[in-house]
């Protein structure tokens, strides 16, 4: 549990983790600043969901595809009478089969995320939540479908930000504010995509197992590691007592002595996470809360749409 001890370097109260109105507005604001996220069209081909991406074959869709001759025995309502009136045969209008891409978003809402130092613009949790909601909104506005991994169903509704927020609050109430620090979801279907946003301060093995489970059916995704500048720079010195949300304590006589080992370990941890992601065909990126959120969203969007090159 977070303890408010000083102005700097302390956990925020858990109430700050709610996806309240301000954060939703920020998420919407952020999403509106970027063009709607249209996931890569090639990926869309195999998807069964109706969406933007024309599949060059007749199916359920909006756009005209072709007229084909009426097959006797078909329902008469299929006949396109306007076309059929031109000659003696009956025709059926076919539309192009348009499919939608699917994006599952997930953000780490656990206690370790609820942290912000003086150098960070936002707490990690706020940033992750806003990015996730913005990504979902952006996806839906592009005509795709989105959902919260392990929490909601896919939706193409315009108010997805609100519905996700409602679901998250309900989840928070149900679980008494405790969130897992990795998604506990069943494997995703092929061609579906996922965006995981969190600080991933977990065992690399757990992280790898999670990704493996998610992509067991061929789904791919992107992991974005969010960190506070203080977590990277280690700006501590003198007598310092460190604690984390799990209750661990470390008393350092000279905190500066810990800077170099910590930074080495952090780099190793990141490298291991990236390797685990690559092993499952995922991409992995870093984002500091000192940087603007739009930068992260842009990178996320690039990563999610440009994987055709892979």
């Amino acid at each position: 549990m977070a303890r408010k001890l000083g102005k700097d370097f302390s956990f925020l109260p858990s109430a700050a983790a709610r996806p309240d109105h301000d954060k939703r507005v920020q998420a919407l604001d952020l999403a509106r600043r970027l063009p709607a996220l249209a996931l890569s069209a090639r990926q869309a081909a195999a998807s069964a969901q109706a969406g933007l991406h024309g599949r060059r074959r007749a199916g359920v869709g909006e756009n005209f595809w072709q007229f084909r001759p009426f097959i006797p025995g078909e329902a008469a309502q299929n006949v396109d009478w306007r076309r059929s009136a031109r000659d003696d045969r009956l025709y059926v209008r076919q539309r192009e089969w348009e499919a939608a891409q699917v994006l599952w978003v997930w953000a780490d809402l656990s206690g370790s995320m609820n942290y912000r130092s003086d150098h960070g613009a936002q707490s990690k949790l706020d940033r992750a939540l806003i990015l996730a909601l913005a990504l979902a909104d952006s996806t839906v506005r592009a005509g795709e479908r989105a959902g919260w991994l392990g929490l909601t169903r896919l939706s193409a509704a315009r108010d997805i930000v609100d519905s996700l927020a409602v679901a998250l609050i309900a989840q928070e109430r149900a679980s008494d504010g405790a969130f897992a620090d990795l998604p506990q979801a069943a494997p995703l279907r092929m061609r579906e995509k996922a965006a995981l946003i969190g600080d991933f301060l977990v065992d690399v093995a757990d992280f790898a197992a999670c990704l493996q489970r998610l992509s067991a059916q061929g789904a791919r995704g992107h992991a974005l590691m969010i960190f506070d500048p203080a977590e990277e720079d280690f700006p501590f010195s003198g007598q310092t007592e460190f604690y984390d949300e799990a209750g661990d304590l470390l008393r350092a006589g000279r905190a500066e002595d810990y800077a170099a080992p910590y930074q080495a370990r952090l780099a190793a941890h990141r490298e291991a996470l990236a390797a685990a992601a690559r092993a499952q065909g995922w991409t992995f990126a870093l984002h500091s809360t000192a940087r603007p959120a739009s930068e992260a969203l842009l990178n996320l969007r690039l990563a999610l749409t440009a994987d055709g090159a892979r």
Binding site: S10, D228, E241, D244, A246, R251, G253, Y258
Partner: protein, 922 residues
């Protein structure tokens, strides 16, 4: 602790230092608390715990710092005293302090008291008995030893006196004391001057108490020896006792009421005497009652001037006017009198020279060979004498020839006497020496002064008493007689060398000066019924520091003849009557400032300004405080906050800034800020609004006034500065022509003084625009709205004119635009102004106005919300009913109100200008 000049007031407190090891242990086991830091990625380094991770011990240097701090406090509490080696005195035996308390000691009295005090305090610490003896107040029952605290009290009771006490009488008491107290130590705080009997006293003291300590001020004593009211300037003559280097300063002249009349600079350079001159008009010089050396506080540095120092006005009339200079009596008189008197000579050919001179207010009238028998002249002279004037007559052929002239002190024998002439049987006579009763007593009569011819007095009874000067054979030469309050004096010779060579001698000048000096005294001190020979009671007496005060009980009356020097019964000061006091000065011409010579005597000489014991308590405590500050900084540094908060590079700059902040007291800075704001407000006329405390209302006010300001600048010749938010309780209101006050009914009422300030602001011509912002809530005939109730509550303490709804042709609707009403967010709310006088006669005037500007406007349409514009000039807030026209009308209303506040009812007259021009035209 003889090896160190250090002693302690309460040494037992040092035992506390024995507890230091305990403190050492305590400090060692309680290190400063670490800083707690939340750090989510902690598990990455959780296994990195190093053996030295937790400093269970305080760092050694911090330990030393804190121990030193504790030790300093303990030592300071023990009262350490650093005694310089030279000042180390005996540790046993009683102490007797002899204090010179004449006026020469007053100059550095504080030093003397401190020196005596430090020695008495040392005695008090050691529990030695002590005694204090002041030479002016010898104890009647002899000198007895008492405890040092009592001696200290005795010392504080001593004040310097305005005379020089004799020291010899104290010797008996001192020797008795020294007999009783064998190992007594003698300290003499000497003024270093011979005074009355200094050398003899010093010798006998050296014999009585060899090795006595003498403390004197090596800088010496300054005094004003005398003052001379000369021809053009009044000169003060200064002396000092030792030529201890250059000494320059200033003498100030004060009148009887203590007002400064002028300053004169003096510079001793390296000499013993100096002069300060006052170049003042003679009337002002005569007003001078006191001269004092600035910065020197002793009775000797004060010179009291009485009537004797006034420069007299002397009128001269000669019987024969047009004689060549060397034969003219006027010539000799003028030359003799001009150094010390203000001469007036009757204009040649004046009809009534005596009357003319008397009209000029002369003190002494000299008639040289003038026939004073004319009745008119005689009458004037009698009146002059009766009122206190002095008439000095010189004999001569005309006077001797006048038959019925009898204005003489003595009866004259008709016909002169010629000595040494052809018809004479005697040679010219020299002068006899002067009697003691004569005012000329003390002057030497040179043998070469001879009289060859004179008028003779009849040997009447009382002639001797009236004679001031006589010839060697006893013939009266100068006679005088009191007439009324004045004096009539006759020189039996002429004022020119025709009858005697007296006018050629210096004696002539001295005699005239005595007469002139005495003239003033006689004229002023003599009151009806007063006996001239009586004693003069003390009037105001100087204390040793040179301040005049009520006479002490021991001051006695002064003999009329005066005293050469003040003494215990007659301290320096003013004596006689308040109208014409006689001054007795502490230091005068006759006295000398002779330094006392201690050489060859068995004394230990010390300098008053020399080293004395230093109490180390305060410096030690300050040091301890600084150490405590350093300790606090160290704790911050150890806690790691230092680098986080300030960074090591900025630390120096921040420390310097802190020191600067400490050096600059905050109050001036605050005053500067206020002054700056008011100065800006005074330099640029600007609109102002009252901060209600409701952030939304205040924001609307600011935006509304900003828009109105821009509109005014664009449309009118008035370019106001940026609008200002006012706190009516603290800000100066006088700089703002118009104050907009939106009523926020949910805010508490302002303090009562706000109502007083607003009332004062209205009284001095300000205009307050209250806006109740409740036009949409008002119901005709209904209860008052909350805003109205609030405003009524506020205004009930303010003296207001009667208010009335503004008529449509009120001048406020005509000042710039022609309007129907004041419109804001709403447009139907009423507007109240000071009620106009009832209209008489002329109906349909285009604009109505009373005398002056209404001090108050109460609007209800939420004007500021109507004025507020966005960057496109459109209304920022939704208006009711709405539209750009309403926004425009609202702004026009605002412009009109500002114009009304600035121009008053001038526009009401201006609407008539066409008619006026028509009337003026042909």
């Amino acid at each position: 602790m003889n090896f160190l000049p250090l002693s302690f007031a309460s040494p037992w407190l040092l035992l506390v230092l024995a507890g230091a090891p305990l403190l050492y242990l305590l400090l060692r086991v309680t290190p400063p608390p670490p800083r707690r830091v939340a750090f989510p990625p902690l598990r990455l380094i959780l296994d990195l715990k190093k053996p030295d991770a937790t400093p269970a011990r305080t760092p050694l240097w911090l330990l030393i710092l804190r121990m030193a701090l504790a030790a300093l406090v303990v030592i300071a509490m023990a009262g350490p005293l650093l005694t310089p080696r030279g000042a180390v005195g005996a540790k046993s035996g009683s102490l007797v302090v002899l204090v010179d308390d004449g006026w020469p000691a007053a100059q550095d009295w504080r030093l003397r008291v401190e020196a005596a005090q430090s020695r008495l305090e040392a005695a008090a610490r050691d529990g030695r008995p002590a005694a204090v003896l002041a030479f002016s107040e010898l104890p009647k029952e002899g000198l007895t030893a008492q405890d040092a605290a009592g001696a200290l009290n005795r010392l504080r009771a001593i004040k310097p006196k305005a005379f020089l006490p004799a020291r010899a009488p104290a010797l008996d008491a001192i020797s008795a004391f020294l007999k009783a107290q064998k190992s007594a130590r003698v300290v003499w705080l000497s003024d270093g001057l011979e005074d009355a009997d200094g050398a003899a006293f010093a010798q006998r003291l050296a014999a009585l108490a060899p090795g006595a300590e003498i403390l004197r001020d090596l800088r010496g004593v300054q005094a004003i020896a005398g003052a001379d009211n000369g021809v053009a300037t009044l000169d003060a003559f200064l002396v000092r006792s030792t030529a201890s280097g250059p000494f320059a300063g200033r003498v100030r002249a004060l009148d009887a009421k203590g007002a400064s009349l002028g300053d004169g600079d003096f510079d001793f350079a390296n000499g013993l005497t100096a002069k300060a001159s006052f170049d003042l008009p003679v009337q002002l010089r005569n007003e001078i009652a006191r001269l004092e050396i600035l910065g020197v506080h002793s009775a000797g540095a004060v010179k009291l001037l009485d009537a004797g120092s006034r420069r007299r006005r002397v009128g001269l009339i000669a019987g024969a006017a047009d004689e060549p200079p060397l034969l003219s009596s006027l010539h000799y008189l003028r030359d003799a009198l001009s150094p010390f008197a203000d001469l007036r000579v009757a204009k040649p050919g004046a009809a009534d020279p005596a009357g003319q001179l008397l009209d000029e207010g002369v003190d002494v009238l000299i008639l040289a060979d003038v026939n004073a028998s004319a009745p008119a002249l005689r009458k004037r002279l009698d009146a002059f004498l009766a009122s206190g004037g002095t008439v000095l007559r010189f004999a001569g052929p005309r006077m001797a020839a006048a038959r019925d002239d009898d204005l003489f002190p003595v009866r004259l024998r008709r016909g002169g006497r010629t000595l040494g002439g052809a018809m004479s049987w005697e040679s010219p006579k020299p002068l006899a020496s002067f009697d003691e009763s004569s005012p000329f007593f003390g002057l030497t009569s040179p043998a070469e002064v001879t009289v060859s011819r004179q008028v003779l007095a009849e040997p009447d009874e009382g002639l001797n008493a009236r004679t001031w000067a006589r010839l060697a054979d006893g013939t009266p030469l100068v006679t005088a007689e009191r007439r009324g309050q004045g004096r009539l004096i006759l020189f039996h010779v002429t004022a020119d060398p025709a009858w005697s060579n007296l006018p050629l001698s210096g004696l002539f000048v001295a005699m005239l000066k005595r007469i002139v000096d005495r003239a003033g005294i006689v004229a002023k001190t003599t009151e009806p019924g007063a006996n001239p020979g009586a004693f003069l009671p003390p009037l105001r007496i100087l204390d040793g520091f040179g301040a005049l005060g009520a006479p002490p009980a021991e001051a006695k009356s002064l003999p009329a003849g005066g005293l050469p020097a003040p003494d215990a019964s007659h301290p320096a000061g003013l004596y006689g009557s308040a109208a014409a006091p006689r001054a007795l000065n502490a230091f005068d011409h006759g006295m000398k400032l002779t330094p006392l010579d201690f050489s060859g005597l068995a004394f230990r000489l010390g300098d008053l300004a020399g080293p004395r014991p230093v109490d180390l308590r305060a410096p030690l405590l300050i040091l301890a405080f600084l150490l405590a500050l350093a300790d606090a900084l160290a704790s911050v540094w150890l806690g790691g906050r230092w680098r986080k908060q300030v960074g090591s590079k900025k630390a120096g700059a921040i420390l310097a800034g802190l020191a600067l902040l400490l050096a600059l007291a905050p109050p001036p800075a605050r005053a500067q800020n206020v002054g700056q704001r008011d100065m800006e407000a005074a330099l640029t006329t600007r609109l102002a609004y009252v901060v209600t405390g409701d952030p939304r209302v205040d924001r609307i006010s600011r935006e509304g006034l900003q828009s109105l300001t821009e509109t005014l600048a664009r449309r009118t010749s008035f370019s106001p500065g940026d609008p200002r938010a006012l706190d009516p309780a603290h800000d100066e209101l006088a700089f703002y022509p118009l104050i907009y006050w939106p009523v926020a009914p949910d805010r508490p009422q302002p303090a009562p003084e706000v109502a007083r300030r607003i009332e004062a602001y209205m009284k001095q011509g300000g205009l307050v625009l209250f806006d109740t912002r409740d036009a949409d809530m008002q119901v005709a005939g209904g209860p008052p709205t909350p805003a109205h109730a609030w405003l009524q509550d506020f205004l009930k303490n303010i003296d207001l004119p009667p208010l009335a709804p503004a008529p449509p042709n009120h001048v406020v609707y005509r000042t710039f635009y022609i309007l129907e009403g004041l419109i804001g967010r709403a447009e139907n709310g009423p507007t109240y102004l000071e009620a106009l006088p009832p209209e008489t006669g002329k109906e349909n005037r285009p604009a109505l106005a009373g005398d002056g500007v209404s001090p108050i406007i109460i609007a209800s349409n939420d004007l500021a919300a109507g004025w507020a514009s966005d960057s496109y000039g459109e209304a920022l807030y939704p208006l009711d009913p709405g539209g750009p026209r309403q926004h425009e009308l609202a702004l026009r209303g605002g412009v009109n109100v500002v114009m009304y506040a600035l121009t008053g009812n001038y526009k009401a007259d201006q609407v008539h200008v066409r008619e006026l021009l028509e009337r003026l035209g042909p």
